[in-house]
């Protein structure tokens, strides 16, 4: 990659959303689509110019200046065609060079993306676009969507952002606070997207987790954060600490039981614990509970010595906070390892009778695995084979295949004994 291309990519990642927001903030004559076009144009101009003439002394300044000029031209042309007097105050479009890590502009954008009328998925897409500055193609790849699909979501969301007062005015603390819950959810979902193993080991996905961590830290530093934010941050850190151990030597997906715990990052675990302690509160949010579960896993010496009784209790509370069948599945797993096998199987079979959850790959894998552990290899095989038709992700299929061959080996050895 040429130095010019590398620099443009780097600046795009840091400044795209900020530049768009600056333009919106500086002039009411610019709408979101125009602002995006202008910023996009500026980046193309930069690439062409820098490839020809080499990097300027101050690339960021160069970029903002070009962007400002393009915006001014646009506004002038616009006023002319409208036959209005050209009384534009040039100072209006003065943009500040914001180069701090996570600044007010990004914070404002983050809260603007947390529009309550939009679905969480849409909120995630626009946050990735305007706050994390990812390109449409990257967003499509990460979220397993088509480019067209992402574009459609953005198109609909633009109108909402355009209506946003908080993007155009100085945010009042009181106006932002009610949205904090939605902001937390967005950050949580972005981290999850990066963490989900389904798409396998991809650098891009770890970067997504880093983006989520970065934005959450920015929120904590902003003074808008609550105990819940700290709990969320702790949850992310606990999971990030286990990154390296989630895949085996040949890149295969490993379940918790088989992970090499010496690969877990103890510094991150300590940091996470600090934040969890700091998040202590009478009101326990789902993030508190999930972070506590992660804490118990992270501080267990081995899978077998894990304090499953505590985990089971935490899931019980989580289920009360957030009753849904997916949490029930996790609760059932905790029940099994905490020794309440009968209740676990009863819950799993109850879920299995449901026409929807019957189709849920993780449910069938869990049933398969537990029957395997109970020595009922035949039954295990049935559930596992069903599960393997329910995922399209190679790494998951591969994990299931390994379990099926375990089951087959068990069947063979028990047949052998009978003979």
């Amino acid at each position: 990659m040429s130095p010019a291309r590398a620099e443009v990519d780097k600046l795009y990642k840091e400044h795209f959303g900020k530049m768009v927001a600056s333009l919106l903030y500086s002039s009411r004559d610019i709408d979101l689509e125009t602002a995006e076009d202008i910023v996009q144009d500026s980046f193309s101009a930069a690439l062409t110019d820098w490839q020809k003439n080499g990097l300027p002394f101050h690339p960021t300044g160069w970029l903002y200046k070009v962007c400002k000029n393009k915006a001014l031209n646009k506004i002038r042309n616009h006023k002319r065609t409208q036959g209005l007097r050209d009384d534009l105050n040039l100072q209006d479009v003065e943009v500040k060079f914001a180069e701090t890590a996570f600044d007010d502009q990004q914070l404002k954008l983050l809260f603007a993306c947390a529009h309550p009328d939009l679905t969480p998925k849409t909120q995630v897409v626009i946050t990735l676009k305007y706050v994390a500055n990812l390109k449409v193609e990257a967003i499509a790849r990460i979220l397993a969507m088509t480019i067209d699909g992402v574009d459609k979501i953005l198109l609909r969301a633009r109108q909402k952002i355009k209506d946003e007062k908080i993007l155009l005015e100085e945010p009042v603390l009181a106006a932002l606070k009610p949205r904090l819950g939605i902001v937390h959810k967005i950050l949580y979902l972005i981290f999850n997207e990066g963490y989900k193993s389904s798409w396998g080991k991809e650098i891009l996905r770890e970067e997504l987790c880093e983006d989520a961590l970065f934005m959450t830290k920015g929120l904590i530093n902003s003074g808008l954060a609550t105990k819940e934010t700290n709990a969320l941050y702790a949850l992310m850190l606990f999971n990030a600490a286990r990154f390296k151990a989630r895949f085996g030597a040949s890149g295969e997906l490993l379940d918790l039981e088989k992970q090499d715990r010496s690969l877990w990052n103890t510094e991150l675990i300590l940091l996470a614990t600090d934040f969890l302690v700091g998040a202590r509160s009478n009101l326990l949010s789902s993030y508190h509970l999930e972070a506590s579960i992660a804490f118990v896993h992270c501080t267990a010496k081995s899978f077998n010595t894990t304090d499953w009784k505590t985990i089971r209790q935490l899931y019980e509370q989580l289920l009360r906070n957030n009753p849904n069948p997916f949490v029930e599945l996790n609760y059932a797993i905790a029940l099994y390892y905490a020794g309440e096998k009968e209740r676990a199987f009863a819950m799993l079979h109850e879920l299995h009778r449901h026409p929807f959850f019957n189709q849920y790959c993780s449910l069938n894998v869990t049933l398969g695995k537990f029957y395997l552990l109970e020595g009922n290899a035949q039954k295990a095989k049935t559930f596992l084979e069903r599960a393997s038709t329910q995922t399209s992700f190679e790494k998951e299929k591969d994990l299931i295949r390994r379990l099926v061959s375990d089951a087959e080996a068990q069947v063979r050895s028990s047949n052998g004994k009978q003979v």
């Binding site: 309550p116 009328d117 939009l118 679905t119 969480p120 998925k121 849409t122 939605i182 959810k185 979902l189 999850n192 789902s286 957030n322 009753p323 849904n324 069948p325 997916f326 449901h354 026409p355 929807f356 019957n358 189709q359 849920y360 329910q390």
Partner: protein, 115 residues
Amino acid sequence: MQKFLLIIREDLKTIGRYTDEERFSNMPIMQKWIESIAESGNYVEGNPLEVKGRYVTRNEVLSDGPFIESKEGVSGFDIIKAENIEQAVAFAQACPLVLQGLAVIEVRPMSELTD
């Protein structure tokens, strides 16, 4: 957040002729939709309904009811949590059955008494 009932309406005459297997053949994509709602903590519960049922009025009990003939009969329901009705509608709009034109969804806020 408020709770919403999503009432899924389909052509019962058509799905009444399906076997369970045929009817639930689009379950994997519905599953994805539900998973995405659950992932953000917005899903509570839901169920498809059988096509048969009883219809009760003051004067009569019709064993079959009008269900089997109904073009827009209730074929299932979901309960979700959402910030407001716009968000609930946005969830419903993303339902694969709606996108394929196979179903319409009625979105109704569930009444809750405040203390």
